[in-house]
Amino acid sequence: MTGQSPPNSRRRLILIERLSENILPILVFIAALAIWEALVWVKAIPPYILPAPSRIATTLLADWETLSASLFVTLRITFAALFAAMIGGVGLAIIFTQWKWAERSFFPFAVILQVTPIVAIAPLLLVYLDSSLAVLTCAFLVAFFPILSNTALGLASADRHLVDLFQLYRASRWQELLWLRLPAALPYFLGGLRIGGGLALIGAIVAEIAAGSAGQGAGLAFRIVESGYRLNIPRMFAALFLISVTGIAIFLAFSFLSHLLLGRWHESAHKGER
């Protein structure tokens, strides 16, 4: 029935559903922290074995100057790598779709770079490149492939009837790319960007650890390694916390971007009743 407000019991159900959707995960998280805190106090676990969440929080505040500077370094590398992966991935995907010979020739290289573990490539890159460039390259390599493969898939997945329509109206290759294939590939590209964003951070961290062990770098991963050497476990956890928060923030930012760009037309961004 339309135009009637739902009955009270149904409204209550909707309210409970919304509360459980938003508040429940937060409550579970707070409960987990409380159990952790209690366990550390009750069992009197020393901070160099397992620091309590409150200790990690105070360390985060006390060491904020050092940690925030490292966070900035890691973020700079992550976003620079992601930007390069975006340009490179989308550019190469366009080239692959426009010229099949290019795809046949170069796609195997992209696959080789993807399947070779970045931990194995990082030391080699540190030999050939300046350490900051090596870290950037590692982060780029892991973020690049999902953006490339997703975008290439999206460009090739345009509705075949729309392709026919563009052919009927004698669209040029570039008109077809601009007005049909690129918009059709947008959801795929954004999916790749969400994966690539997280991977760029992971790549940057892995490469920083490799570079850090060689005595270089000042990112968050280096702070973890350094704190481990000094048995400053609360700082290790604080740096780890910042990395997790950064990863979540990147994911949420790209999810929000997807919602903004796709919300009005793509199934993946639709929420609620239709």
Partner: protein, 256 residues
């Protein structure tokens, strides 16, 4: 009707790479002003014939002639079975597409787009995205897009097949109104005997394996057509004739 031929298909054959012979020995003349329905069972090559006329595919055998010249060939509109709208942009931009591809600026196209939207009754929905429209409205938008270049020939591939009966009847009437207003030639692929009889002045009945025309039926009823025609004895008689022809075409298939 003694109009000039617009398109002539001579002994057309079409085979696909997987060995399927979609069409064989297809001869068909489409006259200017025709409302020609291609009626037949699934897989009998009706849509393939439409694609060949639209130059979206090439015949394996035979030739297609445009006696009125290349200009007629350039002025084709196509409506697919689903509305085939770009979901990421508005109805206005979807209708604008053929003109945009022809290099017309939006400011110059504005009047024509509004005119096309007025014709199909979608002016109020020009800012809506396809996902926000009903099935019938999407199809209207698709028809408006096909009409924007004032095509001489409109090809329609089962455009109303996915719609409910009420919307379908309404769109049938709208299509006849548009044809009368714009005076174009229409080739209409359908499975429905009733729809083909109501809309067309000629029905080409196809048989499959391989696809070919087994009968041409003339519907000798004047336009405009309305509910009175649907209730007339002539309509019932034409439906019976078309139905028997279709049955005959399908029994040919069973014999293979």
């Amino acid at each position: 009707m003694t109009a000039a031929p617009l398109v002539q298909l001579h002994n057309i054959g079409k085979s696909f790479a997987n060995g399927v012979v979609a069409l064989e020995g297809l001869n068909l003349t489409i006259q200017s002003g025709d409302f020609l329905s291609l009626l037949g069972p699934s897989g009998c090559g009706k849509s393939t014939a439409l694609r060949l006329i639209a130059d979206l595919s090439s015949p394996s055998l035979g030739r297609i002639e445009w006696p009125q010249g290349e200009q007629a060939r350039q002025k084709i509109g196509f409506v697919f079975q689903d509305s085939t709208l770009m979901p990421w942009t508005s109805v206005f931009n979807n209708v604008f597409l053929p003109l945009r591809l022809a290099g017309v600026r939006k400011s110059e196209a504005d009047y024509r787009i509004h005119e096309a939207l007025d014709l199909v009754g979608l002016r109020a929905f020009e800012s809506a995205f396809p996902g926000e429209l009903s099935g019938g409205m999407k199809m209207r938008a698709s028809i408006a897009r096909a009409l924007i270049q004032r095509p001489q020939l409109l090809l329609m591939d089962e455009p109303f097949a996915a719609l409910d009966e009420i919307t379908r009847v309404k769109l049938n009437n709208d299509l006849l109104y548009l044809k009368a207003e714009l005076g174009m030639t229409i080739v209409f692929v359908t499975h429905s005997v009733y729809e083909s009889v109501y809309l067309s002045n000629r029905i080409a009945v196809f048989a499959s394996r391989p696809g070919r025309i087994v009968r041409m039926i003339e519907i000798d009823a004047p336009y405009p057509r309305d509910l009175n025609f649907r209730h007339s004895a002539l309509y019932a008689q034409c439906c019976k004739t078309a139905s028997e022809a279709l049955q005959g075409a399908m029994s040919l298939e069973d014999q293979l």
